[in-house]
Amino acid sequence: MKIDIQEHKGIKVFALSGEIDMSSSPVLRSELMGLVSRKVPVVFVDFKDVSYIDSSGIATFVEGLKAMMPYGGRLKLLGVPAKIMEIFNFSKLDKVFEIYGNVEDAFKG
């Protein structure tokens, strides 16, 4: 997994690529929780180049989302590949996360 932290019109974008698994999700977790602890109001996560995610990766985003709720922060997922979307659907997390097609949709949404 690679995390490329970008900015889009002032919003932090986590552009992820490769495989998110039990070995890489701790790295993702510490980056994400770093932003959350600073109460960053909006975080975008770009899944476009993610080839694989396991339950530890999903858990990381659930944890991030829960930690953002108390201060009204928003976590928006975008560019989620079909096979990964299927996992969110199956886990009933498609209704829990804000999921957008691309960065523009996420910006408007």
Partner: protein, 148 residues
Amino acid sequence: MRLPKDSAVITIPSQPKYLCVVREAAARMADMGGFDASAVEDIRLAVDEACSNVIKYAYGGDGGKRITVRFRNTVAGFEALIEDSGPRTDPACLKGRDLDEVRPGGLGIHFIRRTFDVVAFDERKRNGNRLRLLKYRDRGHEDRHTGT
């Protein structure tokens, strides 16, 4: 355990960084067994989750142990046997969370059961655990993709 014909076996240290080797082998074996791309990805994930759980629960995070996975394509389907040397697991413990109760964790078992038709510990194993995962083949594939 004797090695059945036409099976591949992988042993890795009980560390997360080696999981990619096992799940990739699972995917290659499932592909070779004639499963479609979507089923191959489901199998990749489910085998990974089962091995992650061995690291977390059977070994309590100890990276100095081993996990052995045996893959086989049979007439029935795709089989993965996941072996550890940890304390005997109570099958009743393998419970995922209620999917309506949103919290981190508790999804791995769901991913395993979603993909595999059989998820059962081999009672004959004396030391450690052997989890048997079996995914049945679609009837239509039987002739094309089995055996040597």
